[in-house]
Amino acid sequence: MFSGWLTAAVFLPAATALVLVFMPRRDSWIRWTAIGATVVELGLTIGIFVAYEVDRGGVQLVDFLDWIPIDGFEANYFLGVDGLSAPMILLTGILGAAAAFASWRVTHRVREYFIWLLILQTAVTGVFASLDLLLFFVFWEIELIPMFMLISGWGTGQPRYSAMKFVLFTLTGSAFMLVGILALFVSQDIGTFAMISLPEEGIVGIPEKMALASGLIAPAGLIFALFFVAFAVKLPIWPLHNWLPDAHTDAPTAVSVMLAGVLLKMGGYGMIRISTGFFLDSPGFQIKDIAWLLAAGAAISVAYGAVVTLRQTDLKRLIAYSSISHMGFVMLGIAAISATGDRGPSGGLNGAALQMFTHGTITGLLFLLVGMTYERAHTRHIPDLGGLATRMPLIATAFLVAGLASLGLPGLSGFPAEITVFLGTWDTWPWATGIAAFGIVLAAAYILWMVQRSFFGPMLPRFADVKDASAVDLIPVVGLIVPIVAIGIWPSLITDSFRVGIAAMLG
């Protein structure tokens, strides 16, 4: 089976990167080729999202080839989308294009910059498109290299320190995951890397096999923990979050956009697809046994993240910490897995998935706008800013929209995600949900404080020459506001897909 859509979407950016290697040394050619490629890629991902037939469900647009056809160790080139991954691939397309547009003012080593950015996009798309665990892991690891290069080469502040910290944290996590993959594989009866069943190829996926697994060599709980650490670092969850503020703050704008927008979602995606999907009803260990831990961790992440956010005075650091808080909602939704009532865990998980998507667009937009503000005001230190709305009303308006979305204002996409998580989880974990819900009050406090201090107040003389966003600057801004508003008003645009994917997973 080979439909080719996903292969194209995964490798188009990398192929473009290869073209860039051989392009003549003309920065504008390189720049617009790269941006053009991400726009085509966006078109492809929209195509994939639309082509995925929600009514039919299951895995679609499969690309399946033998990759390592050794008896007993059959790793396959297995790409496909289901309801869970289709929106995530779309998200990667949207933010990839936004990140490329956000980079159009980059002048330092343009060729290398865009090559790494495109490779990054291939890696992330690959993570969401892979349905073979080994392939998934390969993409997961590849993503580190461009990230390291981009942060250390084009960052600000202490880029090397931050890049190294990011890599060490993630690499530690993925070392655990690799052991987890091997432990899972060598366990008797598993013997496959397919993350999902594919009846057409006669493949039974890990979730089904886990449910029947009788003789796991390694304890299932240990395998779960090995995977979970990798995802918890990526998401991130308290107390494994400290790489994130540094990496975000020191990364160039486009990389912050990608990092907050899609890289964190790899953690949430892994938690749903692997931690939840594989360990749903495996006899040795079930995720619902430790749902209390997820709920507690989520509540701490949300509250702790929000309180620390309140103390931040750097625009980027502030948004970075707010991400920690908001990703706590994802884990809170997953904690609903132990729901016992007739309503079941579906609401929480759907809310978690929706939160990943919406947080990606919202925080991506925030980082994009912070980048523009920094470019113009030459500082991100909030007490030094002020009155910018007078000089740059467009950026200020967009910033306010993004900020309001981030604090969960109804009508924008943060709200349906948060309310779904809360409604889905309250029954099972009322205290954790209550604490997390208080996060919306704290979010209002830090967002409105930030907006007030940076954009409102009298215009300061030192910003008298600041210019508003240009037409090109506005393309990614509008491109991100559209899904934020559209999903805020009519969330079913995206939730129909998630619903199908999660229903299939929960069986």
């Binding site: 579906s346 349906p416 809360f422 409105l448 969330p491």
Partner: protein, 672 residues
Amino acid sequence: MINEAGSWLIVGLPLASFVIIGVVIRPFFNRYANWAGYLTVASIAGSLGLSIWAFASVADAGGNVVMNGNVPREWLSFPGLVLPFGILMDSLTVVMLLTVSGVSLLVQIYGLGYMKGDPGYSRYFAFMSLFTASMLGLVVSRGVVQIYVFWELVGLSSYLLIGFWYTRPAAAAAAKKAFLMTRFGDFAFLLAILYLFTLGTDETNLLDVPTLYLNVGLLGGAAATWIALGIFAGAVGKSAQFPLHTWLPDAMEGPTPVSALVHSATMVAAGVFLVGRFFPLFESTSSVMTTVALVGGFTAVFAASMALVATDIKRVFAFSTVSQLGYMFLALGTGAYVAAFFHLFVHAWFKTLLFMSAGSVHHASGTFDLRYMGGLRKVLPWTYAATIMGGLSLAGIFPFSGFWSKDEILVGALDADSTVGVIVLVLGLTAVAMTGFYMFRVIFMTYHGKFRGGIDKENEDLRAAGQEIDEAHAHGHVHLAESPWQMVLPISILAMAALVAGFLTNPVESYGIVDKHSFGEFVTENEEVFVDHGAAIEAGAEPEFNFPLAFASTALALSGIALAFAMYQAKVISPSRMAVRFRPVYKLLVNKYYMDELYETIIVRKLFYERFARFTASFDKSWVDGVNVQIGSWSQRLGSVLGFAQDGQLQTYGAVASAGLVIALAVFIFWV
């Protein structure tokens, strides 16, 4: 009979106006900003027309027009989690629709004149459209989450409008304060929604209001109490009741027409509406009803006391709003549902009038400070006459509308026949006297006596005191003339409303086309909220007119007015000497009971921000991050220690290898 599409259009018209102004006019045709004003007025006029249609339909249908076969639509739907939405068109809805669209229309017409020449003209009307649309959306909502959505959008619009002049730090701060304080209440409201949801099932989804009405009895005591309390907390925030009232006086930083709208039919009315919408739930739990009544009664007196000494005309009216809303909650808490909404209805008209008159006064004198006004009745004859009518109405003097509505509230408290009823009746009567005093203090200080120089004198005094003049004052200028017709016309219409609206309740006798208790009859026709009309009357929907009580409250109001006359017109009693004599009380009132300091300085800044948040942030830095960095440096050290083993010398490797072999052999021999 109005259909669902028409009902949506009530919300949709102003919403479309917002979108068109925001996406088309403001960015591309800002030269034609005038069109933003006309578009807003036209769209809200359309909403008013549709609201009248809705009103007629509901009257025909006996209290409730059923939409979409009484089946809610689905906004979000997951297995086990469905969020319904739709239109709920009952008598409460249409009363609110008429009030909101009517008041808003007049405010927009007024704004055409008031905002003329402001660089943010089109932005102003965009926000106003959004504000009106949100409030209209709130009152037609059928789903509980849908109510929450519009509830928050009302809060957003207030935020945008209070902070409309965003270059002024005070405006930006007031906007943030309004949003944050109301969000505290909203948090409790949200928890109530979550709790409510989990009590339902897929078949009986309690997040659908009509379904909730049918199943209120099944909720059980404690659950109903907690849910009602959460909802009430939301209402306390939005309606600026004690202890979440401190944002409203600061909200004066917005343009005056915004205050007129915020204080009458929108923002603050939303809280009263919310309690009314969930009234069957509240009625099922007596402890919450008591709480509502006491909070309302206390706030009525508490806020009125601060109005006694405020020197900013808009602040006096702001405290007055808080106080009057207290009456509404007092009424709801004693079960006098009809009286509460009748008071909301008439208060909306005369409070809008008073704010508009304050704007008109500002137009002439350039200031909002009562100490720099005086004698303006000669230059503002229309405004003066209208203010008198609004003022008499607010003070509750026969035959103005406030007299009727306040009387119904007091009768309701008396008829409640309980200790709580007596307590709140006493509170209510106390506030009546205070209301008469502060209202006529404003009238005498503004319109009577000699003109005290307006903004010019104020700036002079500020300079003399060595203070900086903020931009707000710099804008104003003395311009002693009546305001343009766009401002006078709405004021005059509202003055008429203040005179006649009260007769709609008509508690004495049927007269002409107005039946006895016509308002009460209309509102209680709704079988969803009131099982039958007889039961509603039983519950005090149509109180008999109580002459002794009416006489007492009028006497109290008149004595308040007389005291104001003595102090500010006849000058028999000197206000400044009173202030010295009752210095501690005066200081307490002027400083608003120090609640701003308590909240902002002590709780938020000192305790939360500088202690708790600071501790958490430093914990994050030194401990969480510190441990991570430590692990990093330990691994580095471990690496460098172990590195000695790899020194590249064959002798060392040989020695280590031999030693290892010996150990291995020893283990093998002795243990195995």
